[in-house]
């Protein structure tokens, strides 16, 4: 067993860990990046955001090729070569992983493959895949161990046909019938992929709504479309049990008007993710891990140990890659003793379904729940020229404003490319723009971004392409 010393150890190589390692190296620190995966990138790159988006792109192509029939463009049914599709997805991942690896090398970041465990507040024990152990002593540390799909014991029946998101992304086969447990963003995104590939998808959600955290105005158009693509969406329904049989996985469902026993070829458990705060020896330090598994940190992302920071999923909600990346920069500046805080007020949330849903800042339901008075303006995409050319008028752009100052407090969008459009909303909220700033900035025509401008215009009466009859 060897013992080596490093100035900074970053534990976890995901979208929090690797930017932290890079940034610290750029600031002249000697950095070791410890990651238990096969190359950097974390869940996001290997088993999350990136592979799912590659597959969603394919799903969209399939759906559009079918919808094109309405415009006089008829294609045959797609021939799906699953091996090649899987290869495409893997090549996307590999390309990015290799790129990150090279960027790390160029910066002199020392990459160490293995699983880390704290022995004390200055020593990390790293066990590599061959079982070899290295003791790494460090001056400073950034913990970025991320999160894991949550699979409650009742669903752990030790059958490969019951998958979490990682399993679903492996694309072992195209199941005839797929049960998606949980109507959150992961379930709906993967459900969309499998439905496009030909699976009959049933979504079961325990709560009364899909995407419970999102504004109903945004979910409505998506749900309408998903109802056509999916075999069934059961809300207010609980999956009581899963039983493996030769014919498939038998699910016991309890919900009003829901057939209680149903057979599926595969089941995807997508009910949420749990932070990886436990099991890495933090009890041997003063770092505080709460009951949910999140590490307690301050505004700089500093833990109760002044030389140890935590970022990303393990440091708190929302568990989003881009939040982790921003926290990485904050933590490194914190380590350097700079005056810095994670003070962002607009963290975009994007659901990459079709239509996409995206929002940032204060949302209408949240404002209502808090009894806060806000001004809400909506611009329906039925009035957008660009949306019409795409044959996708179901979208909606919504601004949540301060009723007095007209400051943009939040933005919510549903529609094609909402995930790209929300960037303007983030800038508006984060820089405290007012509605007039949006209304009086020129937006290129014809683009979907015009809906932001026209929503801004609607604050002052009428938007050019939407007329609301005057009351009177």
């Amino acid at each position: 067993m060897t013992t080596t010393h490093t100035e900074l150890v970053v534990l976890g190589g995901g979208p929090g860990g690797y930017p932290a390692a890079f940034d610290a190296a750029d600031h002249g620190m000697q950095v070791t990046l410890v990651d238990n995966g096969n190359g950097p990138g974390g869940v996001c790159l290997h088993r999350g955001c990136i592979p799912s988006k590659a597959l969603l792109h394919v799903a969209k192509l399939i759906n559009e090729s079918r919808e094109a029939a309405e415009w006089g463009l008829k294609f045959g049914e797609p021939q799906i070569d699953l091996d090649q599709l899987r290869e495409f997805k893997n090549s996307v991942v590999n390309k990015l992983v290799t790129g990150i690896g090279q960027l790390g090398k160029a910066r002199g970041v020392n990459a160490l493959q293995g699983t880390g465990k704290f022995l004390d507040s200055h020593t990390l024990e790293v066990t590599n895949p061959l079982g070899q152990i290295v003791h790494l002593t460090f001056d400073k540390c950034i913990i970025a161990t991320g999160s894991t799909p949550a699979v409650p014991p009742v669903f752990q029946i030790n059958d490969p046909r019951v998958m979490d998101s990682t399993g679903a992304l492996e694309l072992a086969d195209i199941p005839g019938k797929l049960l998606v447990v949980g109507g959150g963003y992961i379930g709906l995104e993967m459900g969309t992929v499998y439905a496009a590939l030909g699976s009959k998808v049933t979504v079961v959600e325990f709560l009364p709504n899909l995407l419970a955290a999102a504004d109903r105005d945004l979910v409505k158009p998506l749900q309408k479309r998903l109802e056509k693509q999916f075999a069934a969406i059961h809300l207010n329904t609980k999956v009581e049990a899963l039983t493996a049989t030769d014919a498939g996985i038998e699910a016991t469902l309890s919900g009003e008007g829901v057939e209680p026993k149903q057979l599926f070829d595969r089941v995807l458990i997508s009910i949420g993710r749990r932070p990886n705060g436990k099991g890495c020896g933090l009890e041997n330090t003063k770092v505080v891990v709460n009951d949910k598994g999140f590490i307690e940190v301050d505004a700089q992302r500093r833990t109760a140990e002044p030389h140890i920071f935590a970022i990303g999923d393990v440091a708190g909600e929302p568990m989003l890659a881009h939040k982790a990346t921003r926290e990485a920069k904050v933590a490194v500046e914190g380590l350097l003793g700079k005056s810095v805080e994670f003070d962002n007020i607009a963290i975009p949330a994007v659901v990459f379904t079709d239509p996409e849903i995206a929002w940032c800042g204060l949302q209408e339901p949240e404002a209502k729940a808090a009894g806060r008075e806000v001004k809400v303006v909506k611009f329906p995409w039925a009035a957008s020229g660009r949306a019409t050319t795409l044959g996708r008028n179901e979208g909606l752009t919504k601004l949540i404003l301060d009723p007095t100052t007209e400051r943009v407090l939040g933005v919510a969008i549903v529609g094609v490319n909402a995930g790209e459009l929300i960037a303007e909303g983030v800038i508006a909220v984060e820089t405290a723009a007012v509605a007039r700033d949006l209304a009086e900035s020129i937006h290129a025509h014809p683009t979907l971004s015009e809906t932001m401008m026209e929503a801004g215009e609607a604050v002052y009466g009428q938007a050019t392409h939407s007329y609301r009859p005057k009351r009177g």
């Binding site: 999140f294 007020i345 009894g371 405290a432």
Partner: protein, 425 residues
């Protein structure tokens, strides 16, 4: 369940206020509209009426506290009280059920750093994050400028990086001349007993404004005497005959009218200078500020459109607004938009003084106590005349000395020869 009452937006650009006086206590039952407290902002003292009738279950602020807009100030006991009526113009509603997110305290944390959990939602509990972009927030943090205390100059009250730079400069010049850092004062108690009196916000604002004016404006003061023997006699006759309930026509009211006649003849005295754009902004309106000494400090209420009002009307308005000023009831609008200021110390005494221009105006007229003096008449005889001393300070960037002398000579001549007042005003 209790309902919270949060500080509503008091006026545009006002983000916080100090509690000057509390009129209620926990357990009190109040009527809708009843005054709960007096709040002091940078500009004025305001009364805060109750948005609803009900029993106050708890008071969340005390005298002297600084309260942010949107901050809960008290809670009403909802039992037996009517639902909170939405008062018109209210921008902040009482939260129905504020869900306090209990911040778990790290048990083993030996240091105080691990304060709020990272998941703290910046929008929770009806909070509105400070209106400033990330670059501005960073700049403020690095310069040690507290954003919550700044008033943004951008649209919607947005704080710009220029606002931060200005606040930083003001902080580090200590409000003294030329951006020189002010070293801390010695501990005077080593020399003898002292008493410390905290400045109110109004006093602080006045101090800052005066420092600013003194730093920015190259001041020159021009003095002159006006022979007011005849006009004072006429004024007295008028007042005596006007009856008891008539407004008291004072020398200040007459001076306002005369000043406006001069401003019309010398338009650049009724202007502001913008050094950033190198341009003079000539104002086509005549709103005259009148400095009023009040128990809580100096305020300058503004009388609007003096050119369109008679001396009697002005006298009337002066009486009203001076009363309001002394009672601390001036609104922010009462003190905005002045184009020229008059400060009259004649009631107290003195022969001359050098007033500080009320920035961003460019001139101020000071009046001292009128005195009987022996003057030579045209015939060469000694006569007793009543002379009023004028001291006019001006911004030498805008007004040159010859024009200042001309302005003051013209003004004095209107008093010496009241017929001119009649003809020219």
């Amino acid at each position: 369940m209790a309902t919270e009452f949060k500080l509503p937006l008091l006026a545009e650009g006002i983000s916080s206020a100090d509690v000057a006086e509390l009129h209620v206590a926990a357990g009190d039952t109040v009527e809708e509209g009843q005054i709960l407290m007096e709040l002091e902002t940078d500009k004025a003292v305001m009364e805060l009426p109750s948005p609803q009738a009900g029993k106050i279950s708890s008071l969340l602020v005390k005298k002297g506290d600084t309260v942010q807009v949107g901050q809960a100030i008290l809670s009403f006991d909802a039992a037996g009280a009517p639902a909170p009526a939405a008062t018109n113009g209210e921008t902040v509603k009482a939260a129905a059920a504020p869900v306090a997110e209990a911040a778990p305290v790290p048990a083993a944390a030996s240091r105080a750093t691990a304060a709020p959990p990272a998941s703290t939602n910046p929008w929770a509990d009806g909070k509105t994050p400070i209106a400033a972009g990330p670059a501005t927030r960073r700049m403020a943090r690095e310069l040690g400028v507290e954003l919550a205390k700044l008033t943004g100059s951008g649209s919607g009250g947005r704080i710009t990086s220029e606002d931060v730079a200005r606040a930083y400069a003001a902080k580090n010049s200590g409000g003294s001349g030329g951006g020189i850092a002010v070293s801390p004062l010695p501990d005077f108690s080593q020399f003898g007993p002292v008493e410390k009196q905290a400045y109110t916000r109004l006093q602080k604002t006045v101090a800052n404004n005066l420092s600013l004016a003194w730093q920015i404006i190259p001041h020159v003061t021009q003095h002159d005497l006006a022979d007011i023997t005849d006009i004072e006699a006429a004024r007295k006759r008028f007042v005596e005959n006007a009856g008891k309930n008539a407004p008291k026509v004072t020398m200040t009211a007459i001076t306002m009218k005369a000043v406006v006649a001069c401003l019309q003849q010398f338009p650049h005295f009724n202007s502001s200078y913008d050094p950033h754009k190198s341009e003079l902004i000539l104002k086509k309106f005549y709103h005259i500020g009148v400095a009023v000494d009040t128990p809580t400090g100096l305020v300058v209420p503004v009388i609007r459109d003096v050119d369109q009002k008679s001396v009697v009307q002005l006298a009337n308005e002066l009486t009203t607004i001076a009363g309001k000023a002394r009672d601390g009831k001036l609104s922010i609008d009462d003190m905005r938009g002045g184009t020229f200021t008059i400060t009259n110390l004649g009631g107290i005494g003195g022969t001359a003084f050098t007033p500080i221009v009320n920035y961003p105006e460019v001139a101020i007229l000071g009046m001292s106590r009128s005195q009987k003096q022996l003057q030579l008449s045209k015939a060469g005889d000694l006569e007793e005349r009543l002379m009023l001393p004028f001291s006019m300070s001006y911004d030498h960037r805008v007004i040159n000395g010859a024009d200042a002398a001309r302005f003051l000579v013209r003004l004095a001549s209107m008093f010496t020869d009241p017929f001119r007042l009649l003809v020219e005003c």
